[in-house]
Amino acid sequence: MKDELKELKLTVNGRPYELKVKAKTLLVELLRNELKLTGTKVGCLDSACGACTVNIDGKAVRSCSVLALQANGRKVTTIEGVADGDKLHPIQEAMVEYGAIECGFCTPGMVMSAKALLDENPNPTREEVREAIQGNLCADEGYVKYIEAIEIAAEKMRGGR
């Protein structure tokens, strides 16, 4: 019973998939183990660290805390789907240019939280930026440059730079 396979249709990074998965499969397991999209990281499986953050229909979601089947019929974007070919997304560009990235383990989740924020709210206050990445634990860089990089990206996306 627990291993019975269920049908799942979803779009990941613009590509449609029709798959069969176990009901208990987490979205993060589907992404990493089946689709080999290992840019999405696993830190805690408790929805506490945010390393597994992806976007589902534009919202930032911890992929360790939803079942793959819950993404049925939805559009999932992972870190692999953020850049436009070789051209980095302004959020990615700002994080690279501004020196926000240290070990990089939290970076994919941080980018996905920032993207969900800026897609919804192009002109966030600093408090809103902080709030958007509140669920993303970083271990080493102190958040300062992440916050500033997201603000720089927001300005750039609004056409300010």
Binding site: C49, A83, G99, E102, L137, D140, V144
Partner: protein
């Protein structure tokens, strides 16, 4: 942001990190991301008891489970033991006769899926005889207490007694003598990436190991000894590392032994990935410490003597405790002049998970105690916190001179005074101190501190490192290193150093990271040593390659090599820059003109303390660092006097003397991160709650780590001192601010409320009760 330093082409100005693009696109592969054909999954069987004798391990049921391919127990390792040093090899890959902490590994399984491996672990039957345990150093030191190691009487893991000058005489002559007791918490290292490893055997006597190890040449050596292999046959290939703050990702975990052993048994690659639960219950932790500090000063606040007693919980095994206890004491004579110093260190075995190094290793405990006590002394004497620090701070030695402390620590450059002055100025200290701020139930206060950290740590055994700079025939360059970047940014600065020396751009250097089959050996990422030593190796290797190319250029231009300059990919004669050629052309001539050269530059680290000999851990004499960073910090806090919740405000300034900022933004993130994640977090947030060896908060919800919402937007000010013992003047960046943050925050809480929190962390409950007690005391006085 666009601040630049020195007159260089590449270094001293902001540069994007060489690994940032791979990390921001998700392309960077960490250990858990690696998958190999035919791979098996491993799982560890762990002990539910914190202290128990193992009577029997029965694996027969597990072996019969379909899908199980191999099981290993400690017996397979033939009595192998390992440790941080030859003298401290007290740990087995898996416990065979006794477990000494809860969830210590006793067996491991390899199976065709994670689920089956987990199920098989449940089927392994282990018979235990539970034993009484000891769960803090004060229990461990009792006469007749249960012994963690039968051959270690009194549960003593480390004991040092140092004395420099005459402390008793100095106390007798002091105007004021204060004694206080402080406490630092039991803390997680805080990396989000859990230990993970994949191992396989390409031949019967050849091992390949890819693990989340910040110091990959630790497992290289330990696994060679464990499996009786020559080092030449152990191939450690380094993936990207999701942070490492000392300890677990330096030396070994159960999975690092399980994967190679299970791979050997099955002939297939075996992968193990720890859960965060595994990490938070079994990985190495920062030592909790109880610190008694007695300090004597003159009427003017000049330090005369300090007596320090540190009692630490070492946990179940020795690990790095001998070094920790050394580091707690060694830098007490910095960053202030201290003519008399006495230190007693006691580290006890307990039935808790082992303690070990963590960012700010050792110095953080004693600097917290000393710099909070300095504020207490200042208040008693009616002195300003900045003033008392400036009165005692060590002067920057003149070029060519070296400052020697009473315990023979040697400092060639010291920017602490400049750091203190810069922070005081940036925070408008004089004015700020006089204006008391309170809004409703929020009270605001500001605290000051100063600190040091030893960079370029050198220990005993093989401590040299090297680099290879390979100039390809088209002018592109490979930089081969045995050093690991666990996030600190050393890959980038080492590439930048090579580019600077060769006269090319950062984009021309392609780094080849650790693959022990090809890269030169390196001690590892610890003790803020990588930029200092691997950076010097990179510089020397690039200079070697440059020398070879300059000789060719000199022939071409018919000048002496001294007259040749290479800058911005142009090779020219210094006195006549019109005579020039592009870098690519010079390389091509060198490679193709008969008989033709292969340009390989080699360089070693030679810098530092070898001149003065290695430190004697037991006597506390001498240097363990090559050079010393200095930091000053001011932190403002907002205290909710009704709830006890303390938060750092954005009014936070840190000045750091890293010698020379090779990549200024990287220094800033290092200093900001070190301060917040491992400093402020110790002061305000993090602590493992324990009960009889059981960790009560082993997840990232109940174990509170600092997040973005509470993060102070700390401003970092650079202080440049150009240290002669670092590449281009560089010292360490980040560990200093781990040490300066806790005292700054605790001093700020006092400024805001008049309450001293001497045992960290100042979690709301603790602050609430302290404020309540203060209020009741005031009422009684009325």
């Amino acid at each position: 942001m666009e601040e630049t330093f020195g007159n260089y082409s590449v270094i001293g100005k902001p540069m994007p990190r060489v690994d940032a693009r791979a990390k921001v696109t998700g392309e960077a592969k960490y250990a858990a991301d690696i998958e190999l054909p035919n791979m098996l999954w491993g799982q560890i069987k762990r002990s539910p008891y914190a202290h128990a004798r193992i009577l029997n391990i029965d694996t027969s049921k597990a072996e019969r489970l379909p899908g199980v391919m191999a099981i290993t127990t400690g017996k397979d390792f033939g009595g192998f033991r390992w440790g941080w040093s030859r003298e401290t090899r007290d740990e087995e890959p898996f416990a065979t006769t006794k477990v000494r902490y809860q969830y210590e590994g006793v067996a491991a399984v390899a199976a065709i899926s994670e689920d089956i491996a987990e199920e098989a672990c449940d089927l392994i039957e282990v018979e235990y005889e539970p034993l009484l345990g000891v769960f803090d150093p004060f229990e461990a030191m009792q006469e007749g207490a249960p012994l963690v190691h039968e051959n270690r009487p009194g549960n003593i893991c480390v004991e040092y007694h140092w004395a420099f000058g005459d402390v008793d005489k100095a106390f007798a002559e002091s105007y004021l003598v204060r004694e206080d007791i402080f406490q630092t918490p039991r803390m997680a290292k805080g990396y989000i990436e859990t230990p993970a490893v994949i191992a396989y055997w390409p031949g019967p006597d050849r091992l390949v190991f890819q693990g989340a190890k910040g110091s990959p040449y630790f497992p290289y050596r330990i696994l060679a000894r464990c499996f009786n292999l020559p080092l030449s046959n152990v191939r450690v290939i380094q993936p990207f590392i999701g942070s490492d703050f000392g300890g677990t990702k330096n030396d070994m975990t159960h999975c690092d032994f399980a994967a190679p052993m299970l791979a050997k048994k099955t002939g297939r690659p075996v992968k193990l990935v720890y859960t965060q639960f595994d990490t938070l219950t079994t990985d190495l932790r920062r030592h909790p410490m109880w610190i008694t500090i007695k300090t004597g000063v003159t009427k003017d606040g000049i330090l005369k003597a300090t007596y320090l007693k540190a009692v630490a919980d070492g946990g179940a095994y020795t690990r790095m405790s001998p070094l920790t206890m050394f580091l707690v004491g060694t830098c007490m004579t910095l960053p202030y002049e201290l003519p008399n110093f006495k230190y007693d260190a006691y580290n006890y075995f307990t039935n808790n998970p082992s303690s070990a190094a963590m960012r700010g290793h050792g110095l953080y405990h004693s600097r917290f105690a000393a710099d909070v006590q300095l504020d207490m002394i200042a208040e008693e004497l009616g002195l300003d916190p900045v003033d008392i620090r400036l009165r005692n701070a060590i002067e920057n030695p003149k070029p060519g001179e070296v400052y020697e402390t009473v315990n023979e620590v040697h400092v060639a450059t010291c920017g602490v005074k400049e750091c203190i002055e810069k922070v005081a100025e940036a925070t408008n200290w004089e004015k700020r101190k006089k204006t008391k701020k309170a809004e409703g139930h929020k009270s605001y206060g500001i605290g000051f501190s100063a600190a040091t950290y030893n960079g370029g740590t050198k220990l005993s055994a093989h401590n040299a490192c090297a680099a290879i700079v390979r100039v390809c025939e088209d002018g592109s360059i490979n930089y081969l290193t045995g050093a690991s970047d666990v996030g600190q940014g050393s890959d980038t600065v080492c590439c930048a150093i090579a580019a600077e020396v060769l006269g090319v751009g950062l984009e021309d250097i392609d780094i080849k990271r650790v693959d022990s089959a090809f890269t030169p050996v390196d001690p590892g990422s610890y003790g803020s040593r990588v930029t200092v030593h691997a950076g010097q190796a990179a510089k020397n290797a690039a200079e070697d390659a440059r020398r070879q190319l300059v000789e060719v250029a000199a022939q071409q231009f018919s000048v002496t090599p001294e007259e040749v300059e290479i800058k911005n990919r142009q090779v020219f004669v210094k006195s006549n820059p019109q005579r020039n050629m592009p870098w690519e052309r010079l390389v091509r001539i060198a490679c193709y003109e008969t008989p033709g050269k292969v340009i390989i530059g080699r360089g070693y680290s030679t810098q530092g303390i070898s001149l003065l000999g290695l430190a004697d851990l037991s006597k506390g004499v001498g240097d363990i660092g090559t050079n010393y960073s200095f930091t000053a910090q001011a932190a403002e806090v907002e205290v909710d006097v009704e709830t006890g919740v303390v938060k750092c405000t954005d009014n936070s300034v840190i000045a750091h003397d890293c010698g020379f900022p090779l990549n200024p933004p990287a220094v800033e993130t290092q200093v900001q991160g070190g301060s917040y994640h491992q400093g402020v977090s110790a002061a305000l947030y993090e602590e493992f709650k324990m009960d009889q060896g059981q960790t009560l908060n082993p997840n990232l919800i109940d174990y509170m780590r600092p997040r973005a919402y509470e993060a102070p937007m700390s401003k970092v000010l650079h202080v440049v001192t150009n240290d002669p013992y670092g590449p281009f003047g560089a010292k360490e960046a980040s560990e200093g601010s781990c040490c300066s943050a806790p005292p700054a925050v605790i001093n700020a809480i006092y400024d805001a409320t008049g309450v001293w929190i001497k045992d960290l962390p100042a979690q709301p409950e603790k602050v609430f009760w302290a404020l309540k007690a203060q209020k009741e005391k005031k009422q009684r006085k009325k």
